[in-house]
Structures are given as structure tokens and as C-alpha cells.
Amino acid sequence: MAETIVITSGKGGVGKTTSVANLGSALAMLGKKVAMVDADIGLRNLDLVMGLENRIVYDLVDVAEGYCKLRQALVRDKRVDGLFLLPAAQTRDKTAVSPDQMKSLCDELKEEFDYVLVDSPAGIEQGFRNAAAGADRAIVITTPELSAVRDADRVIALLESMEIYDHKLLINRIRPLMVKKGDMLDIDDVLEQLAIDLIGVIPEDEMIIVTTNRGEPAVLNNHSKAGQAYRNTARRIMGEEVPFLSLDVPEGLLTRLKRAMGFK
């Protein structure tokens, strides 16, 4: 049963595009057929993050306007089988596509793919509405910051007004050390405010920056902690029960020494 999942956040810069790239790759690595749709028309990024920029010939607007077939516009990923990208147009803006067009496009993709992941633009205007138009489910991304949580709250309300009730929360860029010190909102704070189910917690990871700049998703890298978290999230999307990664801060040598000597 195919599903369209919109990845959205309201606030910009919380990691929507990175999450789409990683979740898409992870789902495809788990053997699913995945289409990633970049709905951020005019400011396309997903192709860059995936390292597929130079393979784009047609884009989403070309498909919506009927200049090419959907399958012509889909760019096959160079690393993972069963992973495809429908790039956004760079020279147009969000008004170039209507929610109805997006919906029929997602429906068409659903016939061929197991999962259709839609990368939503930041904001709550037409771009967001387009992205959410064809969605069966939503993943709302937030970072443990008050502003991001506030925006996520607003987006959840908007999703419900669009009759998307199956929404899950993905908390991104959490820093266990700072949470432990009490300098950062912890997962419970966020959940308390938003009151929706959690689907994943992604720790802050420098590898993400490295892999993004190289144009390859972090899930392909076994050493990346964020990559591991994304792989787990992907399995939860598929309905598996996966325990959340332990975010305990590894104890330093000194602490362990102190404990051994009975000082603590």
C-alpha cells in the first residue's frame, strides 16, 4: 500500500531537505521503491543534497504543465536502487503549481512507488499547501528550539485543518550533552508542548554537514550517528517497532576514573 508522506516544519533550516534525502535513501535501502518530490519550487535543494543536480532534465513544473511525462522527469539515484527524485523547478515559483496538480501527481507516483516523500518548503503559504495537498501522512520536523517548536505547533494545526491527522514528530539536531546540562529543550519538553507521537530523534552530527556537501546522504555512511537514527526512523515509518537510540552522553575517562575510585 503506497503512501505519500509530506516532510514539513514551518520554520526553515531545521533539516527538512536533509531528512527527506536520508529517509528516502534509508527506505530505499530497506528495499522499498521510493520517490522523493522536491516541492520547494524556485529554491530547489534536494537535488544538491542528493548529488543529482547535473542529471536533471525536466522538473516538477514541466510535469504539472504537461511538457513531459512523469517518468521522464524522475531522476534515478546513482547509489541506491529503487530511489528516484522528482526535482523542483529552479526558474519558476510556488505559484506555478496548484494543490490539485500536486495531488494528482502524488497519486500518479503512488501507483509505482511504495513511498512518496514530499519535501515541503519553509513557511505556511502556498508552497506548503501544495506540498501537503497530496499527502496521506505528515512528518513534522522540529529542532529543540522554542521558535521551531512554536512553528511546528502551527504547522500541525494547519495539517489538521487540511485533514491530515496522521502526523508524527521528528526531532532533529538534538545535542545530548546540552540537554543533560539543561541548556537545551529535551525531548519531553518538546513532546509536552506538541502532544503528538514521536517517530524519530536525530542527534546533531557533523557528518551531516560533510555528507550534505558531498551530495550523499548520511544513511549511506555507517559511522554517522545521525545516519543510524535516520535508518531507525525509516523502519518506524514502515511500521516496525524500533527502540529509540540511546542519547546518553558517553562518559569521559575522568568520570569513569572518579567513579571507580569512589568519588562519585
Binding site: 529554491l43 536533471i56 504537461g66 511538457y67
Partner: protein, 366 residues
């Protein structure tokens, strides 16, 4: 989209009708009333909401009316000068005269090329309907058209061109639209550039000759015979090519489409796009997408001081840099290079006269 235009024209009140279309606003003018009256009505209607119309992009459908140069100027005055609308093109509907420059598309749309010979004084109006969308596959549409101001003369281009056009039709259209061939247009400021087709499109036929899925690497397997056939679409294009000189840097999201050669004095940044029916020369670094010979001219070249594009397209050939060379996008060679088609492949060579040692690289087909 325009099938019911005639009925619509009959039904509309006051001789002026407005319709929204994909390419902006369509103004339908009554073609039976006296033109002066129609223009007066038009002015009245626009006056109802001048704020709304200001800056809007409009196409005018004049129906079966024969427009004289004066009529055209008057209408332009009202639209552009009085109300600040941007006239994208003019559509007319001369069914009786289709023998000359008009042929229906297989897809149900129609492209009209009204040659300058029949209407003296006008440089030519290229108008067209948007063909049935499903028939547009494999061809590229000029999505947005600009009224072109060309050394004081008005050239209006509108509509779409289709790759299935017959040779003579398009050639005829080109003659009227493209002349005078010897002149070159120079653009050096944002404002002027606005009127010329930056981010807008010239009304030329171009095609991306790609068969199959993009994802499958866009092999050019659709076959060479088709391509050679298409090449003959524009037999005379070489002789009548204009050149657009752009003195600015094209940034991400900007696109230039031009029927002729394009010379950019500046950079073409990643995410920007230059499409030309002729050659493309970038006096700067080319990092975006360039499509030369967009109407099928395989002899077109793309040259740049620093050639490091995201993707190159010449006629129906598409190529991207080899993976190993992607890194050179950041460190492009310090000498001008040129891309052209050789034996069905896009090949990069040093520009004639540059200091680079001999040697060329073949780029991967998409």
C-alpha cells in the same frame, strides 16, 4: 483552451473579455465592433481596477480582426503606457488564411506564423495556441513570452512552437520574426533586459530530444534518423541569426531564452539557464545549464572562459561532466574551453588560440 474562444467572444458583454490562463491574463477583444469602440471599452474595463492590472502579463486575442500597425500601436499604448500591463503576445484567428503560414498541430493546437509580407509595416507576429498538453511530450515549450523591443521596432512573439512543425512553416516564421538579421541587440541594464527576454522566452521552437526516462540516463536512443530530420527544420537559421549580448551575471533561477546566439559578459551561476538556438559564449564562468542549438542545430557550440557547467545540451544531446570531473566545477581549468558535438558525443576542447595543450575530454551522456 481556445476552442470556445469564438463563442466566448460572442457572449462577452461590451466587446472586451478577460480570462485567466496559464501564461497570465488573456484579453479577448470583440472582432466585429469598430476597433476604436473596443479600445474605449478596454480602457473602461481596465479603469475599473487599475491596481489589479498594473504589471500583469497579458496576451491579447484579437480574433478575426485585421490589425493595422496603427491599431497595434494604439492598443499597446493603452496596455503598456496607460495601465502598465506587459504585453506578451497577440493571438489572432484567421482561419481562411491558414494556407500560407499556419498549420494545425497533430495535437489539436495550432501555430500561426503570419509573415511580414501579408501585413506590411509589422515585423511579424508569431502567435500560437498552446498545444494539447499530452502532445507536448518530447518538445519544449516556450512558457512565457515577452514582447520584444528591437531597435525601436516591435517584434511580438507569443505562443509555443512545436517540434513537429514542417520546415517551410517555421522557416517562414523565422524570416519575419528574425529580420533584420544583421542587427544585434545589446542589453546592459536590468530595466532594458526586462523587456527583452531574460526569464522570458522568445518564441522559438526548441526541443529536448530525449526519449525514455531521465532516470535511465536519457540515452539518446530515440534514434538518429529523427534527429537529422529535425535538424532540417531550420535550414536558414545560420544566416539570419541574431546575437543577444548580455552584460550581467545570471544568478540561480534566472534564465535566458533567445532565438539566436547568446553572449554573456558575466558568469552563469549554478541554477541559471541559457537556452539559445545558436551558439552560447560566456565571457566568464559557466556553471549553470547551457543549451545551444536548441532547435536542433548540432553545429552549435558552447564556449566559456571557464567551462564548468552543471549540464550541457547541444541540440538533442545532453551531457554532464564525468563524476571525476565534478570536482573541477570548483577548480575549472584556467583557459577558455569549447563544447561541441562530435560523432554523437559532446566533446570539450580548448578554444582555438588558447594556451591549453591539446587534448579533449568526452562528457558522459545523460
Amino acid at each position: 483552451m481556445f476552442h470556445s474562444q469564438t463563442e466566448y467572444r460572442r457572449r462577452m458583454t461590451g466587446g472586451v473579455g478577460f480570462r485567466g490562463s496559464r501564461d497570465g491574463l488573456l484579453i479577448v477583444l470583440d472582432d466585429t465592433e469598430d476597433f476604436e469602440l473596443v479600445l474605449e471599452k478596454l480602457r473602461e474595463r481596465l479603469n475599473e481596477a487599475p491596481q489589479f492590472f498594473y504589471g500583469a502579463e497579458v496576451t491579447v486575442d484579437v480574433g478575426k480582426r485585421e490589425m493595422s500597425r496603427e491599431d497595434l500601436l494604439k492598443m499597446r499604448m493603452i496596455l503598456s503606457s496607460e495601465f502598465g500591463l506587459r504585453l506578451l503576445g497577440i493571438i489572432d484567428d484567421h482561419e481562411g488564411e491558414r494556407s500560407g503560414g499556419v498549420m494545425p498541430f497533430t495535437g489539436g493546437g495550432a501555430l500561426q506564423v503570419n509573415g511580414g509580407s501579408r501585413r506590411k509595416g509589422r515585423k511579424g507576429i508569431l502567435t500560437g495556441e498552446t498545444p494539447n498538453v499530452t502532445e507536448m511530450i518530447g518538445s519544449m515549450n516556450s512558457r512565457k513570452d515577452e514582447g520584444l523591443r528591437f531597435k525601436g521596432k516591435t517584434i511580438l512573439c507569443s505562443g509555443t512552437c512545436h517540434d513537429r512543425m514542417k520546415t517551410e512553416d517555421y522557416a517562414g516564421g523565422t524570416t519575419s520574426v528574425m529580420s533584420p538579421a544583421t542587427e544585434s541587440a545589446v542589453i546592459d541594464g536590468e530595466d532594458q533586459a526586462e523587456g527583452f527576454g531574460i526569464t522570458g522566452r522568445d518564441g522559438f521552437a526548441c526541443e529536448r530530444d530525449v526519449g525514455g526516462e531521465a532516470s535511465e540516463g536519457l540515452r539518446l536512443r530515440k534514434g538518429a534518423p529523427e534527429r537529422t530530420q529535425r535538424r532540417q527544420l531550420l535550414p536558414k537559421v545560420e544566416e539570419m541569426r541574431r546575437t543577444l549580448l548580455l552584460k550581467k551575471t545570471l544568478r540561480s533561477g534566472q534564465s535566458v531564452r533567445y532565438n539566436g546566439n547568446v553572449v554573456v559578459f558575466g558568469n552563469v551561476n549554478p541554477g541559471a539557464e541559457v537556452v539559445a538556438t545558436g551558439d552560447i559564449i560566456v565571457a566568464g564562468s559557466l556553471k549553470g545549464v547551457a543549451h545551444a542549438g536548441a532547435c536542433g542545430d548540432e553545429s552549435a557550440i558552447i564556449a566559456a572562459f571557464s567551462l564548468a557547467p552543471t549540464q550541457l545540451r547541444i541540440a538533442g544531446f545532453l551531457a554532464r561532466p564525468p563524476e571525476a570531473e565534478v570536482s573541477r566545477r570548483n577548480a575549472a581549468p584556467g583557459c577558455p574551453e569549447m563544447a561541441k558535438v562530435k560523432d554523437g558525443l559532446i566533446v570539450i576542447e580548448a578554444c582555438p588560440g588558447s594556451f591549453k595543450e591539446e587534448g579533449k575530454s568526452v562528457w558522459q551522456r545523460l
